[in-house]
């Protein structure tokens, strides 16, 4: 007990307040930096681009709302039939829960991946825009960061260089032959499909990635993700994405994959991507572990742990 008290007294003395003066040049540098640094929107999605322009998004919301209303109405109608014909309808994703309002919630509800700092626990991702697939991942303590709908960033610098780490889930039918110059139509808008169409299998995509000379890749090996089999390879991306095509004035982006669900760009210079591709009952799912040479072994190991925790519901 005496030793504990001594340690605290020692630390009180050692860390005691004294006159600390920050050099003016630091504040000057900050003010110069912020003059050219745009503020992020309140609901930031640090590693994804806006999937749709505002008009399309509004239309999408309206369509989803319509589907919910029609789906719910259909269920109510079918369930009201004396033969209980509700079970004959094609199950709509939005109509899966029972419409009965008195059903108690289950005890083990997995929360959706939120934006921002995560408490340790299991979260549910719905990474693919046109699929009902869910991916449950277990995140350790330490300040990991949620980037819904598809990504989780590390506790140090999120997924950004020079020492961050991140995990993201994607899907793609195309890749870019030149990931730095993905803006084929010159519109500066995303998403855009890549110029290399890839066949439907895991091997098709693995071979296309391995054949691309824009980045270095390792020999693909057998791998699994959430119990599903596939292949894994590593891509060593561009040392510096400066000068790559850009959208929305948000910097230079380096897109390996094309298309709406492939919207993951290199998070910094010399970003290493460990790409795992598996076939989930006909859907080709891509998991990317993004890291850097300076990423700590502990953060890398924790990110691997997140991937190993994956539970996929097709």
């Amino acid at each position: 007990m005496k030793a504990r008290i001594d340690t605290e007294r020692i630390l009180d003395a050692y860390l005691a307040p004294e006159a600390d003066r920050l050099a003016d040049r630091v504040i000057d540098a900050v003010l110069a930096d912020i003059a050219r640094t745009p503020q992020r929107r309140a609901l930031r999605v640090p590693w994804r681009f806006p999937l749709m322009p505002a008009l399309s998004r509004a239309t999408g919301v309206a369509v989803v709302a319509l589907v919910v209303v029609v789906g719910a109405g259909t269920l109510v109608y079918l369930n009201s039939k004396p033969d209980g014909g509700g079970s004959q309808g094609t199950p709509l994703p939005t109509a899966t829960p029972t419409p009965a309002p008195t059903v108690a919630p289950t005890a083990a509800v997995i929360p959706p991946l939120p934006e921002g700092t995560l408490a340790a626990g299991t979260y549910r991702l719905r990474p693919l825009s046109s699929e009902t697939m869910t991916i449950d991942v277990t995140v350790p303590d330490g300040g990991w960061v949620g980037g819904p709908p598809n990504a989780i960033g590390g506790p140090v610098g999120d997924s950004n260089g020079p020492n961050g780490v991140g995990v993201a889930f994607l899907k793609a039918q195309t890749i870019n032959s030149d990931p730095c110059h993905w803006d084929k139509d010159g519109s500066g808008s995303a998403p855009q499909e890549g110029d290399i169409e890839v066949g439907p299998t895991v091997d098709d995509l693995v071979e296309a990635l391995a054949a691309n000379a824009s980045y270095e890749s390792t020999t693909p090996v057998e791998a699994t993700l959430g119990g599903y089999s596939g292949k894994r390879l590593e891509l060593q991306l561009v040392p510096d994405p400066s000068g790559c095509d850009t959208f929305s004035g948000e910097g230079d982006q380096y897109f390996v994959f094309g298309g709406r669900d492939g919207g993951q760009f290199a998070q910094g210079g010399a970003n290493t991507w460990q790409v795992t591709i598996v076939d989930v009952e006909g859907t080709r799912l891509i998991a990317v572990l993004m890291a850097y040479e300076e990423t700590s072994a502990a953060d890398l190991s924790a990110a691997q742990g997140i991937l190993e925790s994956v539970v996929i519901t097709p």
Binding site: A3, R9, L22, I27, V30, I34, R40, P162
Partner: protein
């Protein structure tokens, strides 16, 4: 007043943010310097934290929590700097060992050198929590708010940080004591 400044800065007012940055600069530097034990790294961490704070300011929902949020941003910037430091450890500039506070108290127990050495061996996460507690005087609840963790977790981490520091001090003291024993 500060709430107004924070809200103005959230709307993109750089002048308002400059006032906030200048008024917090010294305090942030004090925290970073104690966590990182290096003036240059501390300056880098403060600069990094303030730029990130500007960029992410709109995500701060309650302007009254600006200081805790800013301190959290700084602590994370310190973690990043501490890890970056490992790549060029040979170049670090240490703080002066003979600080003005409490030398007699320290001398009666262990040398400041031993404390310095022990503290530097702690991981940045443990250094940060000790600085928040012993330098800023925050309790577990307040540390939890700054680090965005539960108070119980903060309490537990503080306990383990103290324990780790004690173990390092004891380990450092043992050979010295043994040597003193042999020479006497």
């Amino acid at each position: 007043m500060d709430r107004d400044l924070v809200e103005q800065a959230q709307r993109g007012d750089q002048e308002a943010f400059a006032v906030l940055a200048r008024s917090r600069g010294d305090a942030l530097f004090g925290i970073a310097r104690r966590i990182l034990r290096d003036v240059s790294l501390a300056e880098d961490a403060v600069q990094q934290a303030l730029v990130i704070a500007w960029r992410e300011l709109r995500s701060l929902r309650d302007p009254d929590r600006f200081d805790a949020w800013l301190q959290r941003t700084l602590v994370h910037a310190c973690y990043a700097e501490a890890r970056r430091k490992r790549a060029w450890t040979a170049n670090i500039r240490a703080l002066p060992i003979d600080g003005p506070a409490g030398p007699d108290e320290l001398a009666s127990l262990v040398t400041r050198d031993e404390v310095e050495r022990g503290f530097r061996r702690l991981p940045p996460e443990q250094r940060a929590i000790l600085v928040l507690h012993h330098y800023l005087g925050l309790d577990s609840n307040e540390i939890g708010e700054v680090l965005d963790i539960h108070a119980g977790t903060a309490r537990s981490r503080l306990h383990y940080a103290h324990r780790a520091m004690r173990a390092l001090l004891e380990a450092d003291a043992r050979p010295t004591a043994a040597a003193r024993g042999r020479s006497s």
